[in-house]
């Protein structure tokens, strides 16, 4: 078994606010179904949806001093919006979960393996 991060990247300015209430409910229903399926297959390790990137804070220590800056680390248009950590036997299995997830959220999913734990 290996673990993979499936991440969804949101583009600044393209928020889910444009969805109608009904669309939002349908979206939540499908996501709920997918996550239930992940749980019943013992695939889901953890998942989360992140607040808007402008709520982020970056902390760095320089010369023993802690500096805090407002805003996300990367000055990019795309930011991590949410993620799943899943267990899969191999990449093919992870890709098939990613394809279900992408179909659900209507966005591309990045699949990235975790470094294998030694002795695993």
């Amino acid at each position: 078994m290996a673990q993979y991060l499936l991440s969804v990247h949101t583009v600044e300015g393209e928020s889910s606010a444009s969805r109608t209430n009904e669309q939002m409910q349908e979206f939540m229903r499908r996501i709920g179904e997918l996550e239930a399926q992940m749980r019943s297959n013992d695939v889901l390790v953890y998942s989360g949806r992140l607040a808007e990137p402008d709520t982020a804070t970056v902390v760095r220590v320089e010369g023993g001093e802690t500096l805090t800056t407002d805003g996300p680390f990367a000055e990019a248009k795309e930011h991590l919006g949410g993620f799943y950590i899943i267990n899969s036997a191999d990449l093919d299995e992870a890709l098939s979960w990613a394809s279900k997830t992408s179909d659900c959220v209507g966005m591309p999913i990045e699949v990235r393996p975790f470094v294998a734990a030694h002795g695993a």
Binding site: A89, R112, H118, A120
Partner: protein
């Protein structure tokens, strides 16, 4: 028989992929397998010169390589840290309860092909891995075949192998229901290797290598009609390879080629495969391109070409692969049936501004319609975009259009739609 480097080289070419494939499954690690087989051939070169060829050179290589690999792993197992990284390729099969039978070696080569051409790898990486691991080409040979610096190619191979390991791309042939997404990249890689061989002469010949891979795939997947179609397409293209270059290095049009110089044996073999495909009736893009190529091979002279049949085949190809390049080829064939005006009307809609055969075709059609000035302008644009000096000079001399379905052009034109479309990389 005297055992010299040439003999070992020939065996190397034939057996390298088979041994690497078997050892990839045994060790679950591509690098270990590759290095072990390479070492085994180095041993063979001195041992065989002294003792003569073993009865089964391929088996000797695989056994020797297996022992070398085990030695290496024993050494490395002392470092426990490496152990963690060892649960690799074959482990995926185990987890799924797929029987890990000590099955026919051919199954291993099928696994290796599908691992090398996994859709999670870039096409560049797929091509490089396939030529290196299945074809046994050295990194330097792969690099020079694609006009890439050797360190760049080395990096590309290392990165691809690292991804296979880190992301756990499984060492497994896909199930039937996965083939519609998994087979096309494999076919595209073999086709691309052939076309690279047409574009540049390199040693070893990439055209030969592509045909060898296509033959292997036909043996491994005898029930896949598109695999047969690809082999037929390559055989028919190969039958004309020698006739397609003029003494000045530019491409000879189909109409000008000495049909007596076409390789009849390859044509017969290609045609037989095409007939089988037509009987089976599950025509895909490679089979249709092969059928078109076979129609040209059937005509003793250009005048005897069955253009209406070729147009009908292009109609079907366009339905499967609706790309402007296929549409251009179809228009050229229509020009032979309905005349240049009908063809020009179709061509002018295609908007293939950056594609030199588009302008050369327009030039030819305009010339046939007596619109000399526009024709000259079209040829000038074609010349400006031509890929080689010989082609450019030919077009500047007021050249002719790529002839419809000439082997190279037909292939080249068809390369477009086969390419993987990657957003942002077109």
């Amino acid at each position: 028989m005297r055992v010299d480097e040439a003999v070992v080289g020939r065996i190397f070419r034939e057996e390298f992929g088979r041994s690497v494939a078997a050892l990839c499954r045994a060790f679950g690690d591509i690098d270990v397998a590759e290095d072990a087989v390479q070492e085994a051939f180095a041993v063979a070169l001195t041992r065989w010169q002294r003792d003569g060829l073993p009865q089964n050179p391929g088996g000797w290589i695989t056994t020797t390589a297996r022992n070398r690999g085990i030695d290496r792993l024993r050494r490395e197992l002392r470092g426990r840290e490496l152990l963690g990284e060892m649960a690799l390729l074959s482990a995926a099969g185990d987890d799924r309860g797929v029987p890990e039978e000590d099955g026919p070696v051919d199954d291993d080569r099928l696994r290796l092909i599908f691992t090398c051409c996994h859709p999670a790898l870039s096409q560049e990486a797929q091509v490089a891995l396939t030529l290196r691991l299945l074809g046994g080409l050295s990194t330097r040979e792969v690099a020079s075949s694609f006009l890439v610096a050797e360190p760049t190619m080395a990096k590309r191979l290392v990165r691809a192998k690292r991804k296979i390991k880190a992301a756990r791309i499984p060492y497994r042939a896909p199930a039937d229901h996965e083939l519609p997404t998994r087979l096309p990249p494999v076919l595209a890689v073999i086709y691309l290797v052939y076309n690279a061989g047409l574009a540049r002469t390199a040693e070893p010949s990439l055209c030969d290598e592509a045909i060898r891979l296509a033959r292997l795939l036909v043996t491994l997947m005898p029930d896949e009609p598109e695999v047969a179609g690809l082999l037929a397409l390559l055989l028919l293209a190969e039958s004309r390879r020698a006739s397609r270059i003029r003494p000045d290095g530019s491409l000879a049009l189909l109409a000008e080629q000495d049909r007596g110089g076409w390789d009849r044996a390859l044509i017969d073999e290609g045609r037989a495969v095409v007939r089988q495909c037509l009987r089976r009736g599950q025509l895909g893009r490679y089979q249709l391109q092969a059928a078109i190529s076979a129609e040209h091979a059937n005509a003793a002279t250009i005048a005897e070409t069955n253009w209406p049949e070729i147009v009908a085949l292009y109609d079907r190809l366009l339905a499967i692969a609706p790309t402007p390049v296929v549409a251009l080829n179809r228009a050229i064939a229509i020009g032979e049936v309905e005349g240049p005006a009908a063809a020009l009307a179709l061509v002018d809609h295609l908007g293939l501004e950056g594609y030199y055969p588009f302008h050369a075709t327009r030039g030819d059609l305009l010339q046939r319609l007596g619109r000399e000035r526009e024709a000259a302008a079209a040829f000038a644009r074609a010349a400006a975009l031509a890929p080689t000096d010989a082609e450019r000079e030919f077009l500047e001399r007021g050249g002719r259009a790529p002839s419809p379905g000439s082997p190279q052009r037909c292939l080249k034109l068809a390369t477009g739609p086969v390419k993987r479309s990657r957003p942002g990389r077109q």
